[in-house]
Symmetry: D2
């Protein structure tokens, strides 16, 4: 887990509408997925079969960007706007689903795709769980 | 308009499902909104009334991040995934609506909020237009 | 030019140490370069010769990230810290030089590399000019 | 530690010039610092004394952006360019120093500044150690 996520949520000086433990778990899943996707895009570029991995690279880049942005939005609690968080979490779950599906295709061949697919699945689930807890 | 958006879309070597002119307009609106929101968050910090602008700063930060990420996703055309683009554009429109509403509250007092509110409105409309053209 | 850069700098409510016109030009060059690099990385993925363009994709991704971050830092003027701006501009110029050099290798073959190389050269120059004006 | 950093570095299919353990530690420090700075900027906005924390918010935003970008660049190993990594790590160390200094001023009053200052110090050291190992 990212070392600062939980202590920073605990140090927030005002109320947080969402459950802090669930929120921290989601932020950590987002950060881990963003890091995995950035790394997987690059690892694909170094495979001799890169021409067959271009969809994987592209989806990884999208997923890395969307997860990174979602982690930042969820790390802010001032003037909380449930509409922004919910719609962004839903978009993030869609990106994680697509990226996890694509990485899973190559998971038997490439360890980076296997690790990344797992990170995408975990992140998709965390996003959906948090959305479910919001309503 | 950002000088490179249109020539880069024209230089893309394969098919693009979406209308290239509409796509370029949306990317430009996203980039302009992201830049305005980053600047407005900072300008608010330099106002003596910053304590009344904290919601504005926070929403600006979210909107800057989400618009920046959406611009990047829309600048990629390889292995296009309509589900990711659509859900992200919808989340982005939500963020632009919230940020535009908040900036509009302060538009009479602060020129940076007025310019930023206009950029948010234009970006929200561009996102909604592009989503409408996708179905 | 990005439509919001200049009006947002003009709307900043306090003093800006750097020349506002030069600053706006640099931010615009950074935004244009970041957009070009994001697009060029993706366009390379759609070339049949992608296996020969992996260095270009990777350098494009770095340059897109660094230019985007530098544009954000330069769009903030509150509590200006010349050391951060200067060292980041120097790092950005290094990234633009590398990316411009790599794109230039492929400029005769691929229009996206040609446009991107020009954006990198212009951005490198803008970064160096701004650093020169700071001392 | 971010759960995916180490396994993704281990799964990279080609040579990495830098020491993989040291590299993973630096990426983790960068991710933790970026997350802490994003959270600290927001926590400052919720303090009643926000008017005295505007320098902290601004430096946090810069440091979050720069650490996030540096983590991404260091997560890529294809076509490694030591000049980009070195200059970016140096810029990142400068940002971490400034942000750590500013957060330290408020560490006795605000727990979020105390945790963030520690993350900045650790990240600055990790960046400097990695640069030292590169020459």
């Amino acid at each position: 887990m990212t070392t600062t996520t939980k202590p920073m949520i605990e140090a927030y000086p005002a109320e947080i509408t969402l459950d802090r433990t669930k929120l921290a778990a989601t932020v950590n899943a987002l950060i881990a997925c963003s890091e995995a996707c950035t790394s997987c895009a690059d690892a694909c570029l170094s495979e001799s079969s890169v021409a067959e991995l271009t969809k994987c690279v592209r989806t990884n880049m999208d997923c890395a960007d969307i997860c990174g942005t979602t982690a930042r939005v969820l790390s802010r609690h001032t003037a909380y706007d449930a509409n922004i968080s919910r719609s962004l979490l839903e978009a993030c779950a869609v990106a994680c689903r697509s990226c996890g599906d694509e990485c899973a295709v190559h998971a038997g061949m490439h360890d980076h795709c296997r690790v990344c697919a797992e990170a995408c699945r975990a992140c998709e689930q965390a996003c959906r769980d948090l959305v479910a807890s919001m309503s």
